[in-house]
């Protein structure tokens, strides 16, 4: 069933200044200034990063302590198992995707943690930090250079580390801009309900 007109030519992604947040049919891109935001809007822990056609997100890049690469890799399996045990353990973040990468620059190893989600991370930072702790991601952070040793009792220092290692995007793109994970899941649920209904009518 066609629900909207499919254009003959693929749409050119647009670089927009004031993006429409309601039209998910038109792919959009947003070029972001060097600072990571268009105007300074103070949040509790520093300037707020904007929501883009690719939703909210962060990209944290930090150098790992020498010799800890294997331990970090092993954490991947741990989180996989944690999710298998409780698939909703990360639900409060309203995530789309998380990506975990280890890479080398010369002899040094770096860790990149990229998240795309619908929650405004700047506003719910403490909830995210609590989740990091719950899911044991702190065990990775402890392998990163400069991570505060007193993080357990000093949440502001933990948050400061995250903000200092956050690398804002200069461009973000959304094929279905501003659509939230909840909306996607609702649409898929509806699709399944329709399929069931059609099956029942056979």
């Amino acid at each position: 069933m066609v629900t909207h007109v499919i254009p003959k030519e693929p749409l050119e992604p647009q670089v927009v200044e004031t993006a429409s947040e309601t039209d998910w049919t038109k792919p959009q891109a947003m070029a972001i200034p060097k600072e990571g935001y268009f105007k300074v809007e103070q949040g509790r822990y520093g300037p707020l990063f904007p929501r883009t056609p690719a939703c909210h997100g962060f990209t944290i890049i930090a150098k790992i302590k020498p010799g800890t690469e294997e331990e970090i890799r092993q954490y991947g399996k741990k989180l996989e198992n944690a999710l298998a045990g409780d698939p909703y353990v990360l639900a409060p973040l309203q995530l789309h995707y998380l990506r975990w990468v280890l890479f080398a620059i010369g002899q040094d190893k770096y860790f990149m943690y990229q998240g795309i989600f619908d929650t405004d991370f700047d506003k719910y930072t403490e909830d995210a930090v609590a989740l990091f702790t719950q899911t044991g991601i702190n065990t990775i952070f402890e392998k990163l250079e400069g991570f505060p040793s007193d993080w357990r009792t000093n949440v502001p220092a933990f948050i400061k580390f995250l903000r200092e290692h956050q690398c804002p995007s200069f461009l973000e793109y959304g094929e279905y801009p501003y659509v939230t994970a909840v909306e996607i899941k609702k649409a898929l649920k509806l699709k399944r309900a329709f399929s069931d209904m059609l099956d029942q009518m056979q």
């Binding site: 509790r44 409060p92 506003k123 403490e126 909830d127 502001p156 939230t180």
Partner: protein, 455 residues
Amino acid sequence: MSWLPRVAMLEVDDIQHFLLTRTPALAARYEFLTFRKSVAGRAWLAGLIDKVGTGKSVGSASPDSRWVTLAFTWNGLRALGVDEVPLETFPEEFRQGMAARAEIVGTTGANHPDHWVGELASPALHAVAVLFARDVAERERCKKEHDRYLSRIGDVDVLSGLDLEAIHPGEPREHFGYRDRLTHPVIEGTGEEAPLGSLPPIKAGEFFLGYLDEGGSRPVMPQPEILSRNGSYLAYLRFQEHVGAFRDFLRQQGQTRDEQELVAAKLMGRWRSGAPLVLAPQKDDPALGVDLRRTNNFDYGKMDPYGYGCPVGAHIRRMNPRDTADNMQRRQMIRRGGTYGSLLAEDAPEDGAERGIAAFIGCASLIRQFEFAMNVWVNDPRFKDLGNERDPFVGTQDGTFDMTIPKRPVRKKIKGLPAFTTIRGGAYFFLPGIRALRLLAAGDPALVQKPRKVS
């Protein structure tokens, strides 16, 4: 940390009573002070410490007729002579003060510190003396006594003061007519039981420094520890309530008294009697409102997920989203305060007199608890995907925000909600324990001299 007991023994003989006990006060006086000389500030404090009630000496059945609380701004601690080294160990938000963080707190536009009264935004604000009194006569007696005391001390000036009185002596109500004080967090270790529908007792570290908090740790404290242990932070807010404007608005929204009352209830999430809309969605149930065992026994996620009873943007649902928000046990705060100004009679036109609520909100972390609530729950237009709404009573309103009232078949949307309140002042204070008050009064070397390096 395993060596810490799971349930903290509160040092009730050292904690000021203010956040531990709700006293049977019907009147109050707030005196906002400046210390022109450190020595004078310390002398003033020294003479008052014995009048400050502790959690041990003040119970809810307190036979006293007045209760004193003392708290200090960061500038005030400096004015008392506290050295830069300990001063720098206080959290940044407290050091900056509420006025400097107006954008974060959301006090913009008409609520901006530029318009505040009583020199509350001034760096000269050093301390507040909060006096709760059993009645107005006792409050007046204490005011005079404090005046005489100040003139004996010299060099401690009153920047401004505020008189508060209960406007309905029989029951706690504010000027718009809503019943107040229906929810409060229960602190673990006090022996109090949480009412049905409320969170279980909250760890003391959420309110007092030096105890385990709900994160399972004992957060770092300002140093030296003796200065901060058993202390709390207070955020002060003075909300003017525009009673005439509120009543005019209700009249515009409803033809009949019942229709108007329903709109009033939808904005608050409770009928003026205190009965919650989730439990009494169609009509008021005054008996439910006053029954503290039942009036909090509800949730939103299961009982009212779409807000057909209590709108998602209603005041009580924003300020306490209950089961529809994460880590609620880390968002709890204790409110103390009351109403100021005279009651505007039911049918009287707006008289232009200032009236409202002036309250202190106590917590262990201003940034994590108070500022989160103001920044996200109160003033974030996107809260719960509402899009263009702020808290209808305590949010900063300028006629550009809406209020959605879910309703079958079609929701009602009030466009351009007017401002029913104006914030006339605010400040951050540190509420020290009694031992810390004594050290401050004595100008103890641990506080006023730079600690020597141990090699």
